[in-house]
């Protein structure tokens, strides 16, 4: 079964994870730009991070046959930080035109401050200008209120709901997103928040229309294989394979293809890689002979 992992922060994962993902059938990953665990102090750190997402990280992924895409944004946490917020907004347009950038994200709310709202709305406008869908981070604290506020702001901007993926959803948010016509993302974690068992129950009850699942794996306790693990659980629970495939492959592709940049045909084959290549003089080989790998 082919898998499109629509939310994973490979920047903070080890090379072995790429190998495990490829073996588990992951053909493509999407890496949303995010908070790095601590605030950055100047815009240069963002520039270097964005360049890594379209450069080294994409190259590293391709070395394992995995297509790498990303979304770019000022994340809600650092939207609160006046050292960087305006300057990041000024550099975003050039990055939103990159071929591997399939959307604007993660945007949304976290602490639900006025500044977060200001930059969320500004980035919805940017997404419209660049004709890209948006990946919306919804708060982990006071979720329902924050979820509703996100929706209000999206409505205020008259942003098309079909191009909105409200991420980190749960049983409480499903009905809201269904009625709105936007997409629901479910982040499956090993020990907290949504887990594979709960996800199986959700699919059995609601089906898979406009649903995507992801691992949101990052630098914390998380598991990059949560999508294949959940796919296995779904099949074991009696969900037809065609439905599972739609959930983990066609659905994320359908959502992110809305920007017109995702060449679906290219995903039929693994990403091509030349182990002799380096990126800015760097390779994943660490001195090993490419002919022996």
């Amino acid at each position: 079964m082919l898998i499109f992992e629509p939310h994973i922060h490979m920047y903070s994962r080890v090379t072995e994870d790429y190998e495990r993902l490829a073996l588990a059938g992951v053909r493509a990953v999407l890496e949303p730009a995010f908070w790095l665990g601590q605030n950055r102090t100047n815009v240069g750190s963002f520039i270097d991070y964005y360049d890594t997402l379209i450069g080294w990280e994409r190259f590293r992924s391709q070395q394992f046959g995995i297509h790498h895409f990303c979304t770019m944004a000022l994340n809600p946490r650092e939207a609160n930080d006046d050292r960087v917020n305006d300057a990041v907004m000024a550099i975003l347009p050039r990055y939103l035109e990159k071929d591997s950038v399939l959307g604007v994200g993660e945007i949304g709310l976290d602490d639900q401050t006025k500044k977060e709202e200001k930059y969320f709305s500004a980035q919805l406008l940017l997404a419209k200008q660049h004709r890209l869908p948006v990946l919306v981070h919804t708060p982990h604290r006071d979720k329902m209120k924050g979820f509703q506020r996100c929706i209000d702001l999206i409505r205020d901007c008259d942003f098309p709901m079909a191009q909105v993926l409200l991420d980190h959803g749960n049983e409480e948010t499903i009905k809201i997103t269904r009625d709105l016509g936007c997409w629901s993302g479910f982040s499956i974690y090993p020990n907290s928040k949504m887990d594979p068992h709960r996800m199986v129950q959700i699919v059995l009850e609601y089906g898979i229309e406009r649903f995507v699942i992801n691992s949101a794996a990052d630098w914390g306790v998380s598991d990059p294989l949560m999508v294949p693990r959940t796919a296995t659980k779904l099949e074991q629970a009696g969900v037809p394979r065609s439905k599972v495939e739609q959930l983990v492959w066609q659905n994320p592709i359908s959502f992110f293809a809305q920007g017109g940049r995702l060449d679906v045909k290219s995903l039929e084959r693994p990403a091509t890689s030349n182990l002799r290549d380096t990126f800015e003089g760097n390779s994943v080989l660490r001195g090993q002979d490419p002919d022996r790998l």
Binding site: Y50, P93, R94, E97, K98, D99, S100, F279
Partner: protein, 272 residues
């Protein structure tokens, strides 16, 4: 002007759109890094069905250009891209954007930007970028002599081409850059590769024979007995370039056993 019009015409119906973009960038230079990444989506990635052309003093094979590469070249030409702007596009571009920029250099006059870009390409080992900058045109030869790009830099570049096994024939007029220091470097690379049981650059003999140093003749004569047809072909071409009558007996001796017609014909020539 006529040359530029001819080049623009290769974009077909897209030529007008490219001129509009150029005007947009001329009016606001900050638009350059925003419009540049979108060129493949606007102009397409299909290869141009064209052959070799001259543009000013440049010789290039348009058949290696995609429509977006040509659009990039014309855009940068018409907005008179500066070194700082060009380097910014490279520095913050993805792999494809960088390749597009490097192909575009073939159409721009060699400059400080060209020197800087070739330096980056030499440093980074990316085959796609080395091809874009050095292959299917004579940019490398035209850049030699620019401030900061002399024989040392040229040799380093050609050694990288050998290291990554790119065909010499695609680096137009590179044979004119042969020199004894380069021959020594190429022979050392070949020896090192052979010691590791790896293949060597097939075009080695074609370059070292133009500027022979100690060991060159032995290497070329040894190449006449190589099991790889391409290596034997290069060796006999090298033998002809050496133009040494005293070496003719080696060609005659090999001729009797050579199975490949293309090699045999050249052996006849080398045998004098």
């Amino acid at each position: 002007m006529q040359e530029l019009a001819n080049l623009e015409s290769k974009l077909g119906t897209h030529a007008a759109a490219m001129r509009v973009l150029a005007l947009e960038v001329c009016a606001d230079r900050k638009r350059l890094p925003v419009v540049f990444p979108g060129l493949p989506r606007r102009f397409g990635k299909d290869l141009l069905r064209e052959g070799r052309i001259t543009f000013g003093t440049a010789l290039l094979d348009l058949g290696a250009f995609r429509t977006c590469d040509l659009a990039a070249a014309l855009l940068l030409l018409q907005v008179a891209v500066t070194e700082a702007e060009g380097f910014d596009l490279y520095e913050h571009g993805d792999i494809e954007e960088r390749a597009m920029l490097l192909r575009a250099l073939h159409v721009l006059a060699p400059s400080a930007l060209t020197v800087r870009m070739l330096g980056e390409v030499q440093r980074t080992n990316m085959v796609l970028h080395l091809e874009a900058a050095c292959c299917d045109g004579d940019l490398l030869r035209r850049t030699v002599g620019q401030p900061g790009f002399g024989v040392v830099e040229q040799n380093r570049m050609l050694l990288k081409i050998a290291f990554l096994d790119l065909p010499l024939a695609r680096v137009f007029h590179a044979e004119q850059l042969a020199n004894q220091e380069l021959s020594r470097m190429l022979q050392d690379l070949a020896t090192e590769r052979e010691a590791a049981g790896r293949s060597i650059w097939r075009d080695t003999d074609r370059l070292i024979s133009r500027a022979p140093v100690a060991g060159t003749i032995a290497r070329i004569l040894g190449g006449l007995e190589h099991g790889d047809d391409g290596r034997r072909l290069a060796a006999v071409e090298g033998l002809i370039l050496l133009n040494r009558k005293d070496l003719a007996p080696f060609a005659i001796e090999r001729l009797a056993r050579e199975p490949r017609d293309v090699v045999r014909k050249l052996l006849v020539q080398a045998a004098g």
